[in-house]
């Protein structure tokens, strides 16, 4: 098949702006699925995705479309909706020549729209502006078109007005995909190079790689090599999603499909890797490959200690289908056995937690998220630190760097003041403000990731009455005035409670921890000092007063059995506690100190 008749495209949109509905409609109009089948939004194959209105994993569907007497092959490549999956989005977009940029006419351009449009532009994908939900009474297609033109540079008269729900304008849009988006270049005579833009793990067949062939071709029984990880495999099956899995003999230059090649574990495949022919390899891999970067970390502990093995099994299962997620066993004297988990970003973390609870019915306690730091030691080495406990001694640190992001917030003009205040209090530096329309504005900040991972989004939603949207993209590590604060209970530092924070907020954060600790630790036989320290310097203190009276007044003959039971119970209560420097701390109290949910 000539590449002239192939169109590879994605749909990018903010959550709930209609991406999945449009995909359904396109599949319906091309005959890929019947109306009835389309009821279930086929591209989203996990409940949770549907419920949250977002797509976790990219998929690809191949459809046929008649136009001008010719049959075109349309490959719709789905993208995750959130920039936490920035890298996956960029890989999916780079498998396409173009993208439909869908904006809800009742909502206007949102932060994610902008972030995704930037991404598409960065991989040279052609953009078609699509204004959705134009049939709703509250639709403001003209204002939306203006916003699109203003922020994204797509001329307003070039935007398509559609209703994905009713199908209005979707045919015209399909025609535009054929006429406006470029076909893939024909590189069939060159050595094989196919981009892995997504992968998933099937219980029976092993890993299924989603690929876009850029040059040469893939054939069944071909010996292929993953250039990034350096492994070779034999292709056992090739195919396309129509949207059901339909095996084919070969995938040619410009085509999109799946590869099954006896790959057992998802971790054996990295998204962005290049597949080439082992005997006749490409000179170099396709550009843009970066190993997934985890920026946000959080500890997960089973709510009930006996759930630890179940939690491990659950994480193993999750990791099978999510190569960006990592977990390392963690044993803290304070908290017991758990896992330190790494995520691409906040939303990714939330999704993992939800899947964990939903699919495994395990109650977990999750600590407040922290970020990765970069440390330049005095011996000139640079290392990444994911846990404050791993931070070398201050004397060995030359520079401590924290991750920064470019943060985009789109909001209404009347909430600018509040948002600016919030941003300033979180060390965010305003880069620019851009009026999208008379009453909507986009603010761009340079922000320390640590300041936005915790409660920033909730506060933003509060200030803007739910209106503001935000998105961020990692820009790099920068040196910061960062300190490690230690929490001392009865003068013993508690590793699990140490934090790396900016010096300006150290005392405040430390004090908050102390207040929580004071409430969570029961009174003891002695006074318990609680302290926050930076190095050897105490910057805040509290204390838990001892209890003054705990004695049975009367104990005579008839009371012994009953009293012994009461004492045993009292002892049992202590047993369930963690002992730190002679202080007995209930484990759930510890959890409540670290729990991010309040």
């Amino acid at each position: 098949m000539s590449t002239e008749l192939i169109r590879n495209f994605s749909i990018i949109a903010h959550i709930d702006h209609g991406k999945s509905t449009l995909a359904d409609r396109i599949m319906e109009l091309t005959g890929a699925v019947s109306n009835r089948e389309a009821k279930a939004q086929l591209l989203d194959d996990m409940d949770i995705e549907r419920e949250r209105g977002i797509t976790i994993k990219a998929s690809a569907v191949t459809m046929n479309y008649e136009h001008g007497g010719k049959t075109y092959m349309l490959n719709l490549i789905d993208t995750p909706g959130h920039v936490d999956f920035h890298y996956e989005v960029s890989r999916a977009l780079s498998a396409c020549e173009g993208a439909l940029l869908v904006v809800d006419a009742t909502q206007g351009v949102q932060a994610q729209t902008v972030a995704n449009a930037y991404l598409a532009t960065s991989v040279n994908a052609e953009l078609i502006g699509v204004i959705n939900k134009v049939d709703l009474p509250s639709a403001q297609p003209d204002i939306t078109a203006e916003e699109i033109e203003h922020v994204l540079g797509i001329r307003k008269q070039d935007c398509f007005h559609i209703s994905a729900k009713s199908g209005l304008g979707v045919h015209e849009l399909l025609d535009a995909i054929v006429t406006l988006l470029p076909p893939p270049p024909d590189n069939s005579d060159k050595p094989t190079a196919a981009l892995v833009f997504d992968s998933e793990c099937d219980a029976y067949r092993g890993v299924i790689c989603y690929v876009r062939v850029f040059s040469g071709e893939l054939k069944v029984k071909q010996k292929i090599r993953f250039m990034g990880v350096g492994r070779t495999h034999l292709i056992t099956e090739l195919g396309k999603f129509t949207p059901k899995m339909s095996p084919v003999d070969r995938l040619s230059s410009g085509e999109v499909g799946y590869v099954i090649a006896n790959v057992r574990q998802l971790s054996d495949v990295t998204i962005g890797d290049t597949i080439t022919d082992d005997a006749n390899p490409a000179d170099k891999p396709l550009p843009g490959y970066v190993p997934p970067m985890q920026m946000v970390f959080s500890d997960f502990y089973p709510g009930n200690n006996t759930d630890y093995p179940n939690l491990r099994t659950a994480f193993e299962k999750l990791a099978l289908n999510d190569a960006s997620f990592s977990f390392i066993p963690q044993n803290s004297p304070a908290l017991g056995f758990g896992f330190r988990c790494g995520f691409l970003g906040l939303l990714h973390m939330e999704i993992v937690q939800e899947r964990l609870e939903r699919e495994n019915n395990i109650d977990v306690v999750q600590t407040a998220p922290t970020v990765s730091y970069e440390v330049l030691t005095t011996d000139g080495k640079t290392t990444k630190i994911d846990s404050p406990a791993d931070l070398p001694d201050v004397s060995a640190i030359e520079e401590l760097r924290e991750p920064f992001v470019r943060l985009e917030i789109i909001t209404t003009t009347d909430t600018i003041g509040g948002i600016m205040q919030l941003a300033e209090s979180r060390r965010c530096k305003l880069i620019k403000t851009d009026y999208l329309s008379q009453n909507r504005v986009m603010m761009q900040y340079k922000a320390p990731l640590a300041e936005i991972v915790y409660d920033f989004y909730d506060l933003l939603k509060g200030i803007s009455h739910g209106y503001a949207t935000m998105d961020y993209e990692f820009t790099g590590f920068e040196i910061g005035d960062l300190v490690k604060i230690n929490i001392l209970v009865n003068k013993i530092p508690v590793d699990a409670l140490s934090l790396i924070v900016h010096r300006s907020v150290a005392e405040n954060r430390g004090r908050k921890m102390l207040v929580r600790l004071r409430k969570a630790i029961p009174r003891h036989q002695f006074e318990i000092p609680l302290q926050v320290a930076i190095g050897g310097k105490i910057i805040a203190r509290e204390s838990i007063k001892p209890f003054r009276k705990d004695v049975t007044a009367k104990l005579y003959g008839g009371d012994v059995t009953r009293k012994m039971k009461v004492l045993k119970k009292q002892k049992e209560g202590k047993k369930r506690m963690k002992n730190i420097g002679a202080v007995e701390i209930p484990q759930d109290a510890f959890m409540s100190i670290l729990d991010s949910s309040d």
């Binding site: 003054r548 705990d550 049975t552 007044a553 009367k554 104990l555 003959g557 008839g558």
Partner: protein, 406 residues
């Protein structure tokens, strides 16, 4: 019978008289209003129980008599028994257990006159324990006591005149103020409740009466008592912990200043006047309890009798067992119980005796809590003893619980 001189250790005998004129609102002991029952039948039943248990071989020494070193008649209010039944009971006991080292009876102020006290002395009772509770009228009202402050003095003086030289008073501190009491019942017009001042007054008054023994108890909110319910409904607010602590500290200071020695968490005596019967409990040596709801530690078993007068009497009359609950602690349990009870004494665990009694080396068996609490200054050890420090006494349960299991 075998030829050994004794086939059991010397023990104590406790007789529980579950009658009261009225029930005090704080009291968690089993008792019923005496007017609801015929005391005659109960006393016969108690005597039957004693006779039957006396007949068990293990209860007897070679002479065929039970070997009770101490006798204690408590309640309830033994003093509310009609004189006839009271002296019948005492007569039956002394005929079976002659010449005990100590024979105590509990009395309530206002319930015994001089004659009765004279008779008690003559009948062989050696020690009088008086339920004084407080020398402040408001507090007595709050507690539901029916006697007056003056009754206490009268009872002590009468006992002395009757020849008793071993008299103990029970006192209660940390009594909360009550807003529900009609102010007209109050002499001072304040809503009662112990203050440091009122408690000091009670202590001084007790000392001034020249008694040999004082038990000072912090008010305990026993389950299922009207007082406990009043706390739950918010009608009564317990005295705050700090005041409670200060009162306890003051108790020790005041009584020791007056020549009393603290020998147990709540018990103080002039030298030589410690209550031997109660020491028996804290030594964890055997005792036999008879009467409804009485507890025994006998032949390695801890038992509780039926806590119901009617059912108790019926069981006895039908020749049935009156044990309602029974437990046989294993060796470790015995060691733990012994440790917990011993540690309530100021002298603590006497290591040799503990070893002989339980077979365990206390220092080894409880090495962990001993180490921990020595560091915290709550336990001290000498070569011979292991005991709670003065600082540990007010918070003894938090320490003792670590000795409740190994």
């Amino acid at each position: 019978m075998n030829s050994k001189k004794h086939d059991f250790e010397p023990a104590g005998l406790y007789v529980h008289i579950p009658f009261c004129r009225t029930k005090c609102r704080y009291c968690g002991f089993y008792s019923e209003p005496i007017k609801n029952h015929a005391p005659r039948r109960l006393i016969s039943a108690i005597i039957t129980e004693l006779t039957e248990k006396r007949g068990q071989p293990a209860l007897s020494n070679i002479e065929g008599e039970p070997f009770f070193k101490t006798i204690y008649i408590g309640g309830g209010s033994p003093s509310c028994l009609p004189a006839k039944q009271l002296f019948q009971l005492i007569g039956e006991i002394t005929s079976r257990c002659p010449k005990p080292e100590e024979f105590t009876i509990e009395i309530n102020p206002g319930q015994v006159n001089k004659d009765t006290l004279n008779q008690l002395h003559t009948a062989g009772v050696t020690r009088i324990s008086i339920g004084a509770q407080s020398f402040n009228s408001e507090e007595l009202i709050f507690l539901g006591r029916k006697h007056s402050v003056a009754d206490i003095g009268r009872a002590v003086r009468s006992a002395k005149e009757a020849g008793f030289d071993n008299i103990g008073l029970d006192l209660i501190f940390a009594i909360p103020p009550s807003t529900s009491l009609p102010s007209t019942t109050l002499e001072t017009g304040r809503a009662g409740g112990s203050t440091l001042k009122s408690w000091k007054h009670s202590l001084r008054s007790a000392i001034d009466l020249g008694v040999q023994h004082i038990s000072a108890y912090a008010l305990t909110y026993e389950e299922q008592t009207p007082l406990q319910k009043a706390v739950e409904t918010g009608e009564v607010t317990p005295v705050n912990e700090e005041t409670d602590r200060q009162m306890y500290d003051m108790t020790i200071d005041e009584l020791e200043k007056a020549g009393f020695k603290q020998y147990e968490i709540s018990n103080f005596a002039k030298p030589g006047f410690e209550c031997r019967h109660n020491l028996n409990y804290w030594a964890n040596t055997p005792y036999l309890g008879i009467g409804p709801a009485a507890g025994s530690y006998w032949q390695g078993k801890r038992t509780l009798n039926i806590a119901d007068i009617k059912k108790y009497i019926e069981a006895i009359e039908q020749g049935k067992n009156v044990t309602a609950e029974s437990e046989t602690p294993d060796n470790i349990q015995v060691a733990c119980e012994t440790a917990v009870l011993n540690l309530r004494r100021r002298c603590g665990i006497i290591l040799d005796e503990f070893k002989k009694q339980t077979g365990f080396d206390a220092a080894k068996l409880f090495a962990e809590p001993i180490g921990k609490y020595k560091k915290l200054g709550l336990i001290r050890t000498t070569g011979k003893r292991l005991y709670l420090t003065r600082n540990a006494l007010p918070i003894a349960d938090s320490v003792l619980c670590d000795f409740s299991t190994t």
